[in-house]
């Protein structure tokens, strides 16, 4: 009797275990797969708020003015979307923008724009959104460094008047294409209570103007549901997926596995060897697979002994094996980096000047590096194989980048090995990100791999300013927010200002050429590789119709326009 009972119990447990293990997929009826698009790679922690004005806003809101963090047009809409392939502005809330004179930008809204709560979206909401950044210190407050006023001329028309002292047209256009417009009737009363009140507003049921609403969110995922009352229904058509789900993975590996298995349809994650994944495609079907969007720069502290000598910086630049970095650290997702602050492909390519790079730039050439060290610098190799300058400075430096930025860490390993081969010691140091941040801003580094402005409507202007402009940059030891290497050159400020108000592309190309030459002759930083603005890859098991370089109906961005193109399979 006892034995039978035991056997039954044991069998029962086995049955239960098998049931638990096997039954879940059958029970797990979630959202209908053919109406649900899974997106990943933007959100890595629980959704705490959907406030675009505060830091770390959850997907799809992101930070206002930060195109790489937001999903523009899903819930909140910007006036335009910027196409990083052809440089055009796609209309969204606005129909067109026009420079009526050198310092006045007039923007015309689309007819019938409406908030999801039914109230009309007018030019006053647009003006209000931009004015918020004048009243308070917000992420897009820099807009007001170049602007005098923003006002609603009538219901449909907004006028932005630039500061005649420093008119910066590209930068203003960039903000116009990235700032998401907020309803004044909801945010106005909050703003009147002060900055803290505004920033700490969690906005858990965001009222936007886009075709999606936040349906639910948890520590595991965020779900958006299509909003059928979208104002732009007849103008643009509705996006195809009824639900958008952003699962929140704790690691890249989990997310990549899901993409590989078709559980994620559209991803913004670094996937190693993406070409090996079945059914997974990117923008290009061959190397480098993605359009470059930013240049991770090894920034040089030009005040450190040894690195204050431009010949040392040049020798270092010649020593690095850029092709090896592109092949290994970047998993072939980059061409070997050129010695220019301008991206050679995509929208910036119109300013890129190959000849200039040949003439003034550098490339991987260890012999040339040694020649500079021995003949021009008269450096002598020490017993440890490291060169020492005539004044006794041993060419030994430390390079930092945050721990966990694996591709960047790998790139620096290559730098370290390449430099060592010619006789310069570059030691790597990988502290936690907040520490590197503090070091970078205070100039507490020899070399640091860090990011500068990415491709956008105002690039490469913003990148030249980030690297070369010393206006308003405090000395080492105090906090800087640009030009971390504290480089300085008398011609830069004038050239940047001329570029900011330049009329024609030819004129711009000429000015950028001069800036690029200053960059190459002085080596305040070394481009190591190119990185896509967003990793854009999709699995066609459940959804198709994503734009690619062969079918470029939309840029490789996570814009709402793509969601109007996709189709269930």
């Amino acid at each position: 009797m006892k034995r039978t009972w035991r056997t039954t119990a044991f069998l029962g447990m086995v049955v239960l275990a098998v049931a638990v293990a096997g039954a879940a997929p059958a029970f797990a009826q979630g959202l209908p797969r053919n109406q649900t698009l899974y997106i990943a790679g933007f959100q890595w922690g629980p959704a705490n708020h959907f406030n675009p004005l505060a830091p770390n806003a959850a997907w799809p809101v992101g930070g206002n003015g930060n195109p790489d963090q937001q999903a523009p047009g899903y819930v909140y809409e910007s006036l335009f979307l910027y196409n990083i392939v052809d440089g055009r502005f796609e209309p969204l809330l606005a129909r067109e923008m026009k420079w009526v004179d050198a310092t006045t930008l007039r923007i015309q809204l689309q007819p019938g724009t409406r908030w999801q709560d039914g109230k009309a979206l007018t030019a006053r909401d647009v003006a209000f959104t931009f004015q918020l950044a004048e009243r308070f210190a917000l992420g897009y407050s820099s807009f007001w460094q170049y602007v005098k006023s923003v006002k609603a001329v009538d219901d449909r028309t907004v006028e932005i008047a630039l500061d005649p002292a420093k008119p910066n047209r590209p930068l203003v256009e960039q903000y116009v294409a990235t700032v998401m417009i907020l309803p004044q009737h909801i945010w106005g009363p909050l703003a009147d209570k002060g900055r803290a009140e505004l920033m700490q507003f969690t906005n858990l049921k965001p009222v936007g103007s886009g075709p999606y609403q936040v349906q639910s969110y948890s520590a595991e995922r965020i779900v958006l549901q299509r909003f059928e009352g979208y104002w732009g229904k007849s103008l643009y058509g509705m996006p195809t997926p009824k639900y958008l789900v952003h699962p929140i993975f704790k690691s890249n590996d989990a997310g990549n596995l899901a993409l590989k298995q078709g559980d994620v349809d559209w991803s913004q994650q670094f996937v190693p060897q993406v070409w090996t994944l079945h059914n997974v495609q990117t923008w290009y079907d061959k190397e480098p697979y993605y359009i470059p969007g930013s240049i991770p720069l090894m920034i040089i502290n030009v005040h450190k002994k040894g690195l204050d000598n431009v010949q040392v910086r040049r020798a270092l630049a010649y020593s690095i094996d850029y092709a090896l970095i592109a092949r290994t650290a970047m998993s072939r997702y980059s061409e070997p980096a050129k010695s220019s602050l301008i991206l050679p492909t995509g929208v910036e390519s119109q300013y890129f000047d190959e000849q200039l790079v040949e003439q003034y730039g550098w490339k991987h050439d260890p012999k040339k590096a040694v020649q500079i060290l021995e003949q021009e610098l008269k450096a002598k190799k020490g017993p440890d194989g490291i060169y020492v300058l005539p004044d006794g400075t041993r060419l030994s430096f430390t390079v930092q980048t945050p721990y966990g930025w694996t591709d960047w860490m790998a790139a620096l390993q290559v730098v370290s090995q390449s430099a060592k081969q010619v006789g310069i010691e570059v030691r790597t140091d990988f502290p936690q990100a907040p520490i590197v941040s503090t070091n970078v801003q205070n100039g507490n580094f020899d070399l640091v791999l860090w990011y500068v402005s990415q491709v956008g409507a105002a690039s490469p202007w913003t990148r030249f300013r980030d690297v070369l402009d010393d206006r308003g940059v405090p000395p080492i030891g105090q906090q800087a927010f640009q030009n971390y290497g504290r480089f300085s050159h008398p011609d830069v400020a004038g050239l940047l200002d001329r570029a900011a108000s330049a009329g024609s592309p030819e004129q711009l190309k000429e000015i950028y050429g001069q800036l690029d030459r200053i960059f190459m002759e002085n080596v305040p930083a070394i481009p190591l590789m190119y990185r896509p603005l967003l990793f854009y890859e999709f699995n066609t098991t459940h959804w198709t119709g994503f734009p690619t370089s062969q079918d470029p109906k939309a840029p490789p961005m996570f814009y709402i326009s793509v969601l109007r193109l996709v189709r269930p399979k």
Partner: protein, 336 residues
């Protein structure tokens, strides 16, 4: 009764002192990590270009909001004041979530994982240990060696082994997370099954080791008790075997109760690595994130919470002993 009261009061005072020290350390330790948390917040926030004076305005605004522009002494006073009012502040990295809310979200996962693991591990372990000691022979030897082996595996190694064999080699259970991302939490059968699936491996990694550890401890205690004079005396007097066993079990249990109370106290922070291995939501995972992001208020909040739980559990154990065992009370009061 006055002795008992004096005992309780003196214990309470000691624990209050320990709590104050813990609070001071909580405040100080995160601030010894190099780097400024606002720097990290800003780096993300100002990604879009166009920096200069606007950036330093933003920076100042955040320093002020978090009170980091004040001198350390002032910050400490504010912190203590807030803690006493039950306000653990606003998290930097999950801005603007309240630290108390974040802990409240993570706590159920940790408790649901740990409490059953500790209790089941304790009950089964003790039963098995007592049984082994009583039965002896082959059963004892097999069980003892097995339990010893299992209990000497670090629990994170066990977690990785289970993950490897049951989720990767034979993919019976999911690799990570609290539940599948395709589901939203609800009370349907499907969701609960999914929840249990995700729960199984982290739970097993904790409970197996708990069983092993408890069994080894209980076995030794029981063997010691079985050889005690009162057992010989009782069996000589012809007391029924079951009754003797009950006495043996009860006596051997005393130190095991202490162990249980302490593991309940450390429960909150105890499963840190298990949570990391399985990406299982919980306090350990929260603390790990907070530390890597330099999130002072969140680190302070979580560690204070853990410290409080441990102190409280110890205090309760002390009190319980004061009641249960007069010998301990007497020693504590210096009356022996």
């Amino acid at each position: 009764m006055t002795y008992l009261r004096r005992y309780i009061v003196s214990k309470a005072l000691w624990y209050a002192l320990a709590f104050v020290v813990a609070m001071g350390l909580n405040f100080l330790l995160p601030r010894l990590i190099p780097g400024n948390p606002v720097d990290a917040l800003i780096a993300q926030y100002l990604r879009s270009g166009g920096q200069g004076e606007a950036a330093s305005r933003v920076y100042q605004a955040f320093l002020q909001e978090f009170g980091l522009d004040e001198p350390m002494g002032q910050q400490f006073v504010t912190y203590v004041g807030n803690v006493l009012r039950g306000n653990l502040g606003t998290s930097f990295s999950f801005y603007p979530a309240r630290v108390t809310d974040l802990i409240a979200q993570a706590l159920p996962w940790t408790v649901a994982l740990q409490l059953p693991a500790i209790l089941i591990g304790w009950i089964l372990g003790n039963l098995l240990g007592a049984l082994a000691a009583y039965k002896g022979g082959k059963f004892d030897r097999t069980l003892f060696v097995g339990a010893l082996a299992v209990s000497s595996i670090p629990y994170y190694a066990m977690a990785i082994l289970l993950l490897y064999f049951l989720a990767v080699v034979v993919p019976v259970f999911p690799v990570a997370g609290g539940y599948s991302f395709g589901l939203s939490p609800n009370l349907s059968v499907g969701f609960i099954v999914d929840l249990i699936q995700h729960y199984t491996l982290p739970f097993l990694s904790l409970v197996l080791i708990a069983i092993g550890g408890q069994a080894v401890g209980m076995r030794s205690m029981a063997i010691y008790e079985l050889g005690a004079d009162y057992v010989n005396y009782a069996s000589g007097m012809g007391v029924k075997e079951n009754t003797i066993l009950r006495y043996v079990f009860r006596n051997a249990m005393l130190p095991q109760v202490t162990g249980l109370a302490l593991s309940l106290g450390t429960m909150v922070g105890g499963a840190l690595i298990t949570e990391l291995v399985f990406s299982y939501p919980g306090i350990g995972y929260l603390l790990f994130n907070a530390i890597s992001l330099n999130d002072y208020p969140l680190i302070q909040g979580v560690t204070l919470f853990i410290a409080t739980a441990v102190l409280l559990a110890n205090f309760l154990v002390d009190l319980a002993y004061g009641f249960i065992d007069p010998r301990i009370r007497a020693v504590q009061m210096g009356e022996r």
